[in-house]
């Protein structure tokens, strides 16, 4: 009896090892198959990567902004567009003042009312090309916001102090600094700067942040009274 039991046990052990081996064989061949698939996939991915990349959001935003600028808003003076699907113009005195005046409420949209542009220390620079007022070669012009204040009872404007600096002589590195004061207009996304109180009026600056973000603006150096354009530059934040 004991002898018979031992025999059965041995036989079982023998079939067990054979089964294990065949399972191992199947597993490794399946793994190899997966490896091949992975390899093929990599090859496909590499081929895909060789195709041109998707355009980044920033470029699309800037393109859309340029199209919007060309289309125009149709809004009269002192008014700005509410944006969105149904065109509507609202006074720029009523943007970001805590009361929804646009039917879609966009005049109080956090993105529209972002203070990023007016942060103290913000600098916007670009290569200024002079078309009047002074005989200057193209050179860098910089506008730096030095102070900003928003009155709680009239939040539709942020009052600003800023400095306009530009190089007047490339060799001696003479730089002119002109203190300015003015405001930021949320609705029109414009920084409007004129001569600081008590200074001789030389230049003013108008910057439109109409290029799709808070970091790029279309700026002009102007005579403060007539707004005659002296120089033009495409400004970028740095």
């Amino acid at each position: 009896m004991w002898y018979f039991l031992l025999l059965v046990g041995l036989a079982a052990a023998a079939t067990d090892t054979r089964k294990e081996k065949s399972i191992q064989y199947i597993t490794s061949s399946q793994n190899l198959h997966i490896d091949k698939l992975e390899h093929d996939l990599h090859e496909l991915e590499e081929e895909f990567n060789k195709l041109s990349h998707e355009v980044d959001d920033k470029t699309v935003r800037q393109l859309k902004a340029r199209i919007t600028n060309l289309e125009g808003t149709g809004c009269p003076l002192h008014e700005a567009s509410c944006g969105g699907d149904v065109p509507e113009c609202v006074s720029d005195l009523l943007f970001c003042d805590g009361h929804k005046d646009c039917k879609n409420g966009r005049d109080e949209n956090p993105e529209v009312c972002s203070l990023a542009i007016t942060h103290v220390g913000s600098s916007y620079t670009g290569l200024a090309t002079w078309t009047g007022c002074e005989e200057n070669e193209p050179h860098h012009a910089i506008i730096t916001i030095t102070a900003s204040e928003r009155k709680s009872f009239f939040p539709a404007r942020v009052w600003l102090r800023a400095v306009l600096s530009f190089e007047t002589d490339e060799h001696t590195h003479t730089v002119r600094n002109i203190p300015l004061r003015g405001y930021y207009n949320f609705g029109r996304r414009a920084v409007v700067l004129g001569p600081e109180r008590g200074t001789t009026p030389t230049y003013g600056v108008l910057c439109h942040f109409n290029l799709g973000d808070d970091d790029h603006a279309d700026c002009k150096v102007v005579y403060p009274a007539s707004r005659e354009i002296c120089a033009h530059f495409n400004a970028a934040r740095y």
């Binding site: 002192h78 008014e79 006074s91 009361h99 009872f153 009239f154 405001y183 207009n185 409007v192 403060p224």
Partner: protein, 160 residues
């Protein structure tokens, strides 16, 4: 000594702008540009009143009859335009003392007895002195407005 006093008086006069003839013309020209017309005038008035009530919320009570609790109601818009209309007459007659006096007396009669504290007039002035430059953008003479507004407000209040 006498010369020094005279000199100091001159300097003081040069520093503090008075509502003199030229200043009045200056104020009139700027008012014409800011007061504008149509929708724009309604919004200009709206912005002024929002700024007044933001400074003095308790002043709304005085305007209960004209729906002061909501500045966008037609009743209040009408009132806001009426107020600016009166102010417009005052500004436009700044260079005609007799007509100005008549208008200010008229406005004084309308306002006396309403128990309007001076601080409300100050709130009106502060609102106007911020929304005017926001509307004008440039060519804004703060000192001129400071002086001439007081002249008009004093005429309505009946005291300084």
């Amino acid at each position: 000594m006498k010369i020094l006093v005279v000199l100091l008086a001159f300097i003081a006069a040069a520093m503090a702008t008075e509502c003199d003839t030229l200043t009045r013309l200056n104020v009139q020209a700027q008012w014409r540009a800011a007061y504008s017309s149509g929708h724009n005038r309604e919004d200009f008035a709206q912005a002024i009143w929002r700024a007044i009530f933001a400074q003095a919320p308790e002043a709304r009570q005085l305007f209960h009859r004209v729906h002061g609790d909501d500045t966008t109601t037609p009743q209040f818009e009408a009132h806001a335009l009426r107020v600016l209309g009166g102010f417009d007459i005052a500004v436009n007659t700044l260079d005609q003392p007799e007509a100005l006096k008549a208008e200010l007396d008229h406005l004084h009669k309308q306002h006396e007895g309403r128990k309007i504290p001076d601080s409300y007039y100050t709130a009106f002035k502060t609102a106007l002195l911020h929304i005017l430059p926001a509307q004008l953008g440039r060519c804004w003479n703060r000192a001129a407005w400071d002086a001439c507004f007081d002249l008009i407000a004093d005429g309505i209040k009946g005291h300084h």
